[in-house]
Symmetry: C2
Subunit: 324 residues, 2 copies
Amino acid sequence: MTRRCIDLGERGLVGRITEILEIGERDDCALAEDGERYLVWTTDMLHRRADFPGIATPWQIGWMTVAVNLSDVAAMGAVPLGLLVAAGIPPQTEVSFVEEIFRGMKGCASRFGTRVLGGDIDSHDELTLVGTALGRVEKELVLRRMGAVPGDLLCTSGTLGSAGAGLRVALAAEEGGEGIGDPGLRALTRRLLEPSPRVREGRALALSRSVTSMMDNSDGLALSLFDLSEASGVGFLVREDEIPVDPLVGRVAEDDDDALDLALTAGGDFELVFTVRPERIDEARQACELTVIGEVLEERVMVIESDAEIRALEPRGYQHMMRL
Amino acid sequence: MTRRCIDLGERGLVGRITEILEIGERDDCALAEDGERYLVWTTDMLHRRADFPGIATPWQIGWMTVAVNLSDVAAMGAVPLGLLVAAGIPPQTEVSFVEEIFRGMKGCASRFGTRVLGGDIDSHDELTLVGTALGRVEKELVLRRMGAVPGDLLCTSGTLGSAGAGLRVALAAEEGGEGIGDPGLRALTRRLLEPSPRVREGRALALSRSVTSMMDNSDGLALSLFDLSEASGVGFLVREDEIPVDPLVGRVAEDDDDALDLALTAGGDFELVFTVRPERIDEARQACELTVIGEVLEERVMVIESDAEIRALEPRGYQHMMRL
């Protein structure tokens, strides 16, 4: 029987490819040796229909392209050195639209202390933007997905769910063909379309020497925890009541369960999820505004606790290939 | 009036973008500081319809994706450190087809002493492969597009025109719906679909300290010379009779003029074009099999000489955006 990619799903396909390429540990970035440091680098493909809601401005499209890559560099505790961008552009696109995309890229790179250094332009049926970010981190400071130890505290930066809520607002606005008048709802779409990669926080956490494992939560908190679990060979207990759901999410969610679901599975928040040695939690707090949302378990189970009830955490989240 | 990308052309659009991003010198790779060395890195977007003839096997598609990026690293005189690949894959693609692509990537990377270290998988309407290559070169050895000095010898590695001739063979085979029985014609398509980036040669030329400027000729020799001319602020005299047209090109070309045209403008050969200080031409020859095809002029003119007749060299070659 012929097996097609859609049957395998994104994560299944990635598994086959990493086997062919003999890639060992998977992290947010690939690592290359550089004396006492690692070069870390990452690439991310975004395209018009799947990744950018209709209401996204070209400037926001550019910003996102840079932001998602810087988030991966941040997740390694690295300092970004620069970015490249390969852009596939429909030939009939207005030049001013393309210029705005690149101004958005420049804006995001510059906001986080780095630059777009070059790239490639090509024609394409669908607008396709592939960013690549390069960073550098001392070997003794690098933060990886593996390293979590039972008893460590499970933490997240920032608040969760607002990007997922922002996507609902964006899709509703597209359908209705109307602008978004309400400032709170507009703020949610900005969380989606102008994410702030945690570059400063990731670096500060690395320097704090308190973190044992880390990644970004681009596909949602739940899937990230499954990735950390696999890399570290541990389990997680998440305390539902401690999850820092963004207060604005309530404006969009149907109820508390729905809000929690957005925070756990919607993705796009580009926060850091990481584990901290309990005796160094103060150092971690000085490095980054964080919330302790659970702990690392020796047994490889994934559970979520609320009102003394414990249930299994489901591996749901954003998977590109399966969306189609 | 609304200006569209197709009106501006690839090179026009790249000009606008490099202005926005404040990119100064343009080279085959972007440069990042690394103490006494530079990190060099490059990205290239390829897609099914525009870049891979129908007869290309998935293995060849993978090989090409890696080869075009390694060629840019070679053109800087750098040692490759690794590659990343972002792949946009139609969800209905057979898994075995994708696996073959990645085996081809691995084959090419490994053939030139490096590895694919990671990447990103996404679904896309059209198969789209974006490679990124990273390399490293000592600052005192780096070879750039600027640096050619009047009186320098203009050189090329290898032979030219076979990739362009191979494309004709491939397109004819596609139209006829037949295989390619003739070994000579098959060899031409392999030059097109399995190019050999000049990684060893580029590095040896850098170490020879004989080269003053260099780039690869991916868009064809003529356009490459215009790029070198602009970067170095010099002109070129090319001697038509010295251009090393691949002998197999005669099997496909209509006449000698057509064969020359393929060698000058068809692109895809992935040879190195470079300038050498006359007193060090022997060192350059030891580093790389080369042909002296002309010389660097003080005046910024681009001319080609045959039978004592001198005419202008036209800036024709492969430009993606203008092809559609």
